[in-house]
């Protein structure tokens, strides 16, 4: 995906080491902590990310569905920047060493405490030693699980987010891993109606500001971008939302020297299929960017399951 990087073939790494090293913090020491009972397909710690390091090759990272992440924190009584769990498709289960208030938002899913149904989208009290099970997403892809006090793993460059491309931040959850929790700092909030845009119904509509390299494509390719029937590809991940559909044809066959990439960039690799860069995207790349999706639209992209129709809508400004 990076094109002209030292390794143009791979689109990122997802190294999963079996367990975290800091088992000494947490269980047994009296400090509240989580022990992972079921890690799920891919569950990572996410906060608002680490902006300001792109010149060193480090992307912002952070929660893909930021409104859902913010809501989970608010319901749990946390500031917006606290670290929470981001699950993928099939949730996760954790045991808590102390009684803690939690909130699950994002993709709607069954929530259980020691097997008993509990509320989604609301503050839930989990007793000490109980198992919180966040189930399979009924729609959408990613649920957010916030714990009062936040997940208190040591920050890396000011953030606790796991960046799957850079390999920074805590490893994805593994069975038996222990995650320390911080001290709660506020009462949980109550919301009568949980605002969540939901997974894109009937398709994902992504407004695209054309440029910087729209002139690398033929007029026919730009029409294809605007009218083509694209779908979310199964190979999508935290690095990018990949699409399948009609290929965009380049006007020139020359090679683009590496240039800086932004969140939401719609990069077109040689196969002609647009990739929308998400939070763990590479900071530089050598394939042309036909346009940029506004960050506010990316929360919906993060919840679009493979096969979801995608429509790009070119906009001015």
């Amino acid at each position: 995906m990076t094109g002209s990087g030292p390794d143009a073939r791979t689109s990122g790494t997802d190294k999963r080491v079996s367990e975290t090293d800091d088992r000494t913090t947490g269980a047994g020491s009296g400090a509240p902590a989580l022990t992972v009972v079921r890690p799920g397909a891919l569950t990572t710690v996410q906060d608002l990310g680490r902006p300001g390091h792109a010149h060193l090759g480090v992307s912002r990272s952070g929660a893909l569905d930021r409104p859902a992440h913010a809501l989970a924190n608010r319901l749990a009584g946390n500031p917006a920047g606290h670290a929470a769990l981001e699950t993928t498709v099939d949730g996760c289960a954790v045991r808590t060493t102390a009684a803690v208030t939690v909130a699950v938002t994002g993709a709607p899913c069954p929530v259980r405490v020691d097997g008993r149904p509990a509320a989604w989208g609301a503050a839930v009290r989990v007793p000490a030693g109980a198992v919180l099970d966040v189930g399979r997403a009924a729609s959408g892809l990613r649920s957010y699980v916030a714990f009062a006090g936040g997940i208190a793993v040591p920050p890396v460059l000011g953030s606790r987010s796991r960046d799957l491309l850079s390999g920074l931040g805590p490893e994805p959850l593994a069975t038996g891993a222990v995650l320390p929790l911080g001290a709660p700092c506020g009462p949980p909030a109550h919301a009568d109606a949980v605002p969540w845009a939901g997974p894109p119904v009937g398709g994902l509509v992504l407004p695209v500001v054309l440029g910087p390299r729209d002139d690398w494509f033929t007029p026919a390719a730009l029409r294809t971008l605007a009218r083509g029937a694209f779908r979310v590809a199964a190979a999508s991940n935290r690095i990018g939302l990949r699409t399948e559909g009609p290929a965009l044809e380049r006007a020139a066959d020359s090679e683009l020297p590496s240039e800086g990439m932004v969140l939401g960039a719609v990069q077109v690799p040689p196969d002609g299929l647009p990739v929308v860069f998400l939070a763990d995207h590479p900071t530089t790349g050598g394939y042309p960017v036909v346009g940029v999706v506004h960050e506010a639209e990316l929360a919906a992209a993060a919840q679009a399951v493979p096969g979801t129709p995608v429509r790009f809508v070119p906009v001015r400004g």
């Binding site: 060193l56 500001v209 910087p212 800086g260 932004v262 940029v292």
Partner: protein, 209 residues
């Protein structure tokens, strides 16, 4: 000296990609942007990301205003930086040393002296945290990347591709030509600064004893 003007390109609602004539002009513009930011005369910006012939400015409130202004800038050409360069000791025993020597038209044991006799500058970073693209190889020493990338390149590998020298901060797949290896720690997130080679840093390689 008159330099060709910058060409600002729109990148979504909050960023600007400024394209210039080439690598040296990009490094000069990056230096000027850092100078203006330090002087407080640059609008607030989250990221300044130099690359091969562009500088990306991200997190701007009004990218069009800066675009209108930047085309009028007189950017001073790059000058030799003050202070000492970062010196990286290298064992020149890379797996592609013979191939690079053949491409250069020299004997394999001459590569070390030639490469360690040059001075480099980190033009930009990317690919992995702390991976710098170092310019400074004269055109006749540019080499193509390997036809088949390796699945594993060791951490500390010193490698060449096109106009660039790079040092792999960690073990990863890679397609560059390996000429040697250094024990220097290129990236340590717990260190301040985390990256040994940030854009603008001068670098020299020396033959390890």
């Amino acid at each position: 000296m008159t330099t060709p003007r910058a060409r600002p390109l729109r990148v979504g609602p909050h960023a600007l990609l400024v394209e210039v004539a080439g690598g040296e002009a990009a490094q000069a513009l990056h230096t000027e942007l850092l100078r203006r930011r330090a002087a407080g005369t640059l609008p607030a910006v989250t990221e300044i990301v130099p690359a091969a012939r562009t500088v990306l400015l991200n997190g701007l409130a009004d990218p069009q205003a800066l675009a209108a202004d930047i085309v009028h800038w007189d950017v001073p050409p790059l000058t030799a930086a003050d202070g000492d360069p970062v010196v990286l000791p290298v064992r020149y025993d890379g797996a592609d040393l013979a191939e690079v020597a053949a491409l250069w038209g020299v004997a394999a044991d001459e590569v070390a002296a030639i490469h360690s006799g040059l001075e480099f500058r980190v033009a930009f970073c990317g690919f992995a945290p702390g991976f710098g693209y170092l310019t400074g190889l004269p055109a006749h020493l540019h080499v193509p990347r390997r036809a088949t990338p390796r699945t594993t390149v060791p951490a500390g590998a010193v490698a060449l591709a096109g106009p660039y020298t790079g040092v792999y901060p960690r073990s990863s797949p890679g397609g560059w030509q390996l000429i040697g290896r250094t024990d220097a720690v290129l990236w340590d997130a717990a260190r301040e600064p985390a990256a040994l080679l940030a854009p603008g840093t001068r670098v020299r390689f020396e033959v390890a004893a």
